[in-house]
Amino acid sequence: MVSSVIKHGFLILLLLFLFGVFYFTMEELDIMYDTFAKRYYLLNGLEDTASMNLVTGIYLDYRLFDSIFEAGILLIAVSGIIWISKHDIEEHNVHFMLDKFKTPDLFVMFARVVYPLMLVFGFYIIVNGHLSPGGGFQGGAIVATAILILYYIDPNKDTSTSFILSIEKIVFIIIVVFAMLSIFTKGTMFTNPFTSSDAGVQTIYLVLMNVLIGVKVALGLWAIFTAFLREGR
C-alpha cells in the first residue's frame, strides 16, 4: 500500500495540483466571465461582416488571423502523416488494394446511392456557411468523407498523393494572399477587403473564402486517406 503510494506519488501530486488550480479558477469565475464580447458580436456582427451566421463572421472577419493558422496546422499535420508513412512523394498511381470481397455488398450498394447526396450536401454546407450552421471546415470534411467512400465503391482507383498535396499547398497560399488583400483597400490585414457596405458585395468575400477553405480541408483529409490506404501492403 505504502510502496504503491510512493510509486504513484507523482501522479497523486499532479492530480492535487490540477484540483487546486480548478478550485481557485472557479472562485474567480465571476470576474473572468465577461459578456462584453458576446454583446458586441450580437449587436454589430451582422452589420460589420454581413454574415447571418455569427460564427462564420467571427472566423472569417474578426479572427481571420487565427483561422489562417488553423488551416496551416492541418497542412502541417497532413505533411507529417505523409512523412511518417514513409512513402516516396514521387510515387505515382498506387493501386489501392481494399479487398472487395471483404467489404459487404450492402455497404457498396448504399455507398453508390449516398455518394452524390453527400457531395451535394457538403457543397451546400460550404456555400451556405454564412447563412446557416456550417462553413468551410465542416463542408470540406463531408466532401472528404464522400471521396473516401468512392474508394470502397471502386477499389482499383488510382490517385497521386503528390498531386493532391501540391494543390493543397497552392490553395493555402491563395488563402493567405486573399486574406492579406485588405491592406490595399482598408489599410489593415486579415479582414474583408471590400469597402462597400452593401451586404451583397461583402457576401462574395465570405462565400469565396469558405469555398477556398473547404477545398483545402477536403484535399488535406483526402491526402490522409491515401496515406492510410497505402499503408500495410
Binding site: N53, V55, K86, L98, D99, K102, I125, P133, G134, G135, F137, Q138, A141, I142, A144, T145, L148, I149, L221, I224, F225, F228, L229, E231, G232, R233
Partner: protein, 191 residues
C-alpha cells in the same frame, strides 16, 4: 420541475459515461468502432442542445464518418499474415494426406491470433539483393520469409524485429528442432 430538454441532456450525459466505459472495457475491435461512432453522435446532440450547431456538424463529420472509416481501413490492413515461401519443398506444401511441419506451425500461429494466413511462393514478390545482403519487397508488405539453410538443413523463418507477433512465433517454433526464427531490423528487411 425540470424541463424536457434538461432531462434529455442529463440522460445523454449519463449515456456518454456508459459508452466511454464500454469503449475501454470491450475487446472486439468492430464493436469499439461502433461505440466510438455512437459516442460522437451523442456528443453532437449535446452540442445541439447547448445551441452550438456549427460544432455539432464538425463533430458528426469528423467523429462519426472519418475516424471510423480510417479505423476500419487500419484494422482490415492488419488482419492478413503474408508469408513468402522460398524453400519450395515439402516443409510447407500441403498434400492430400500430409501437411508439412511449417504449415502446421504457421496454422497454429495464425489461429492463435485470428489472422488470415496467406502463403505465396511467387518469386517476383521479393528479390534478394546480393550486394547489400538484404531482401527487398517492393510490391507488397511481406511479414515472414521462409528460407532453407543448405549447410545445416535448418529452416529459417525471417521476420521483422518490430513485429510483436514474432515472440509468440519463437515460442511455438521451439517445439520443432529444425526451425529457427531470425529477426531482422526493419531497414534490413526491406520494407
Amino acid at each position: 420541475m425540470l424541463a424536457l430538454i434538461e432531462i434529455t441532456a442529463y440522460a445523454l450525459q449519463i449515456l456518454l459515461i456508459i459508452i466511454a466505459i464500454a469503449i475501454v472495457v470491450h475487446k472486439n475491435n468492430g464493436t469499439i468502432i461502433i461505440l466510438i461512432t455512437s459516442f460522437s453522435l451523442v456528443t453532437a446532440s449535446l452540442y445541439v442542445i447547448n445551441n452550438a450547431p456549427d460544432v455539432a456538424i464538425a463533430e458528426v463529420a469528423i467523429g462519426s464518418a472519418i475516424i471510423p472509416l480510417i479505423y476500419v481501413i487500419s484494422i482490415s490492413r492488419q488482419r492478413e499474415f503474408i508469408v513468402l515461401d522460398r524453400a519450395m519443398d515439402d516443409f510447407i506444401r500441403k498434400t492430400f494426406d500430409k501437411e508439412g511441419d511449417g504449415y502446421r506451425l504457421l496454422r497454429d500461429f495464425s489461429e492463435y491470433y485470428k489472422l488470415e494466413l496467406n502463403i505465396s511462393n511467387d518469386p517476383e514478390l521479393c528479390n534478394y539483393d546480393p550486394d547489400k545482403d538484404q531482401v527487398i519487397c517492393e510490391k507488397t508488405n511481406v511479414d515472414l520469409i521462409i528460407q532453407k539453410d543448405e549447410k545445416t538443413g535448418e529452416y529459417l523463418l525471417k521476420g521483422k524485429d518490430s513485429s510483436v507477433l514474432m515472440h509468440k512465433l519463437e515460442e511455438l517454433a521451439s517445439n520443432y528442432p529444425n526451425i529457427k526464427v531470425v529477426r531482422f531490423k526493419d531497414g534490413e528487411f526491406g520494407d
